[in-house]
Symmetry: D2
Subunit: 350 residues, 4 copies
């Protein structure tokens, strides 16, 4: 029995190492268009794909449709391709066609990758992320090498990392109503919205000077009542972001776990804890809390939570597959981004 469990765990490892072959027909390109130069770089990439991959249709941001800088018309003439090979995606289109794209390519920083996560709230295609400057945690390909890297990925078996996302649902507590027939109080809870997040969900005190008082439940039973500036529930991907600033451990993306990290906890013994991804968490603003709390999802969509409101958090069935640049990419990224243990050797104590 113990060996069965061990076997299943090793099987899980094998699966995560499986390579897949992409058959790219519909390629989506996502760029953060807050910088003029990105219009030109996007154009450069699109042109190159159209020329070198004749079977591929390229979908770009609909904002580029009438952009003179992007100049789709000229682009087709230059690359001698049919105009129909350039198409335009919108958020609405994605919502209805999430299994439509075979590969998403991003240009920009880690923020652009988080944006992709936010628009693909169900199934996510493999995501390949190009950095324009230095590499990031999630942007593991250099744009300057796209002419070598893109064909390598599109023509060969690749390994993707199925990054855990968390499914967070907000529930609002309404004033209890009295059933006119029975005279009994009925508690009414309304489901507000659901977010599949890639980095972390944060529940904090927001502008309030008081600590929020948050009840934390795991699989239905009360784990603790947290008095702190807030709580962070982070994925392994998010363990290098806000959770780290708040004192959490780094978590390798291949670990199936949720990092729960308190922000400035009142009690010294309230330490960060690593929970299994299979747990169902609930964070509720205590009825005794002196102040409301605020939630944020990957740093966005801030919403105020009143007393009695709560958020449920569990592993999303929709993981976020990122194309792997190299097997060492996580260790490389923490070395690079966090100077993980790089300092002149054997120096300060001599």
């Amino acid at each position: 029995y113990a060996s069965t469990a061990y076997g299943v765990r090793m099987l899980s490892k094998d699966i995560s190492n499986t390579k897949v072959e992409l058959d790219v027909e519909n390629l989506m390109i996502v760029t953060k268009l807050n910088d003029v130069s990105l219009y030109f770089l996007t154009r450069e990439l699109v042109e190159w794909v159209l020329v070198h991959f004749p079977r591929v249709t390229v979908y770009v941001d609909s904002e580029l449709k009438n952009s003179k800088k992007f100049a789709a018309g000229e682009l087709c003439e230059d690359s001698k391709c049919r105009e129909s090979r350039i198409k335009y995606w919108t958020k609405d289109f994605i919502r209805e066609h999430d299994v439509f794209f075979d590969l998403v390519v991003t240009l920009g920083g880690d923020g652009t990758v988080l944006f992709v996560s936010s628009i693909f709230q169900r199934h996510v295609p493999p995501v390949m992320s190009f950095s324009l400057g230095s590499l990031g945690f999630l942007t593991n390909f250099k744009f300057e090498h796209f002419r070598e890297d893109l064909p390598r990925i599109m023509n060969h078996k690749i390994k993707t990392n199925l990054r855990l996302r968390l499914e967070c649902t907000i529930y609002r507590r309404h004033r209890p109503e009295v059933d006119p027939n029975t005279g009994k109080k009925i508690c009414v809870v309304e489901k507000l919205s659901t977010h599949h997040i890639l980095n972390e969900v944060t529940i904090d005190r927001g502008p309030s000077p008081f600590l929020s008082m948050l009840e934390l439940y795991g699989d239905g039973s009360l784990m603790t009542v947290a008095q702190a500036d807030g709580l962070i529930a982070a994925t392994p991907t998010g363990s290098t972001a806000y959770s780290l600033s708040a004192g959490g451990s780094l978590v390798c993306p291949t670990v199936n776990a949720i990092a729960l990290t308190p922000i400035c906890p009142h009690a010294l013994s309230f330490r960060p804890i690593i929970l299994p991804e299979s747990i169902n968490l609930k964070v509720k603003v205590s009825m005794k809390s002196r102040a409301p709390a605020w939630a944020a999802f990957d740093g966005k969509d801030r919403i105020e939570l009143q007393k009695g409101d709560f958020i449920t958090i569990c592993a999303s069935p929709y993981a976020f597959p990122t194309v792997e640049a190299s097997p060492d990419e996580f260790i490389n990224s923490i070395s690079r981004q966090l100077n993980w243990n790089v300092r002149e050797q054997q120096k300060s104590f001599t």
Copy 2:
């Protein structure tokens, strides 16, 4: 494919929740006999088992064989049982009969449970641990209630927690030899010993005033060169012990992960990291290190490591099954032992 991976992960959860029925014929009792009172408590337990479970043979520490305080002979007379129903275990017997016992019962503290782990270096029977005073992390049953708890466990389906152990092997580097035929240098590495540990393996500077310089490899590639007082590789079980003192996160025992925690690292950015249990770690004393290092396994068996010596660390195929007292026992234990977030509410800042 992503959904297959998700399915396997959920399957893994189901397996870990499976209940098993024990059919106890051979019961082993482990007590730390450093206290006179424990002789009498052990005797009390044995007598009760002999009377209430007529099919069970009880194995006690061979140190009790001729003990007047334990007085096996009288015990049999009192409980009117055949003498052959009390037998004596030795470490040698266990080494050869690890699948022989159906249940291990411990009396004492967490240290006694670690001792069980140290003598069962391959297959481990389910372990049920009684605390004499307050409960510990691993001692989750109270001795004062054994008359209710023991029959409940022995007669019903139970849930065990398959606690991860780490398999650590020490390799000694010998001076390179010159092959007399080819004249080439041959590196000779000798395997010294293997330890399956339940809490943590520690590699530290020992009595040396200098930092040890430790090369850390993951699946064969160099992750970092650690300059620190030492490194701790802890199981989830061990995350509440030394790793926590060194600043590591708590890790729920159902998370399949290894917590790697540096001890007083030289570099501020060298933060604790949670690695997948499937990783193969190697910690090597750098050839550039100014001092040797010392390894310890669950705090025991300290051994000096010279330059070039190394230890490999991976998930042991022999997990350590502990009988679950309640589904909340981990959260209960950290609340109780670490005062996890229990402090008078909303007080110090008002």
Copy 3:
């Protein structure tokens, strides 16, 4: 010269150990009147003082003037004292008569002591603080013993701890104006308000999802540009409050220093730092910051800071003298409040 410096430092120690004799004529009593029972306890204290210290005039909160529960008129009859011996303080009266009171007695928690600090923004009389339940960091006398403690303090030489306060001044940056004569831009900065705080001044991101970008200057030169949820500048008294939650060290109240502690800093190497009390700090919201910041003074008076606004922080010339209950009171308070290193001995690792 080195020995002169050493001598001055030791002189500083002697001064802080000097005992003074109080000659109490005007006694001020401060209670947080948010609880009915406090009216009666205050009355009990006042009556006792009137009877036992015939020379003393007692000043109570003007809210008690017409309170039926306090019933000042009956109180004078009962204690056979002139009505003029009970007077009423207001915040306005204190602002104009800060050297008028010889002793302040508080009933309540640490919050009541912080309130005294907030209303005495210049000179502060010695403050003796009674706790109603368990002792706090600042409430070091038990109300149940006031009949023994109060005469001891009022009739004998006592030692007060001159607790450091920080003088914080907020400056608002206005849009640069153009001098109509010269055509040159003139930067206009307006001084908004000054706060003498006993615990800490906090500058944080408030409700903003973005990190605030704060420039930190020490004695005029730029120390760092902090990217964090915020910065805390705490007194030794405040080192046991919010600064501790954010990871700062405990600072003994007799150390003349300012604890600067970042809140969730972006960079792992941005560690808490202890600065000399003689430093002049300036925290400015960077012109490059993506969001405004919020300041709070002892957790109150929150104010929004726009880009270019800044706060200056230095040692206040008006220290806060608390009556010492015992020479060990700081160590006692951290043991009691924080369970400083009290845990069952030699347990978890065995």
Copy 4:
């Protein structure tokens, strides 16, 4: 009275800002002679001083006396100076002539400066420290600029930083003797040695697998019984070294304080604490400790402490004056050495 205390504290600040004029006749040069190149650099410095400061006698390490690489004889010929202007220091000479030297110049790293502290165990002359490569915490002058920096320091008023040292005395407990006359037990304690340290004194468990149990006394009263890998008592200078690795705060050298930092404490609430420099500390190996402890002074002179042995720690009357390179040198050094808050701005969260 409060204002007197405030005045004395400000006076203390003024004193520490006083500038002094050196009148250098006897210049001592300290080099770590573990590297051949250092012989030549030392020679270069000595020659330059002999030529440009005709009144100065230069004292070099007696190891250089007969060194061919140093070649003192030729050096005098080359620089046309009397041979008597080069002299040789020994540790014995320094022990008897500590007020003899007017300036100490070091070549090397921070370790060389710690060495100067170890040989000047009473009065210390001003110390000017040249770094050969990048600057350190204590080596704040670049050797490549010595031709500009040395005359500037020797000919003008300079500011020195009087760095706090700690005076540590080891006491050994002998077996109690019975007085033959009275029959009473007499406790015999022997004073072993005294060390004036610049960085830190460490008391740790050394090679022992067990935690040491250390009783910590402040001004005679028991503060706590520490269960930890050890305790560090650091000066502000030492706050950037081992204490920082163990989780202590940075302490500005102008703060008069002792940083007490536990190493891997058993209890989560045992946090680092900043104590006044006027405190008298005593660290004693508890009679209940399961293992001996080890002490080290600035990382040297390790000595085993048995049960009952203790160390007293207080501010040394002999501060360590370092020549200041610039008023920002502390902030510069932590920025440089620890990457204090330097990381690419506003990046990882976007």
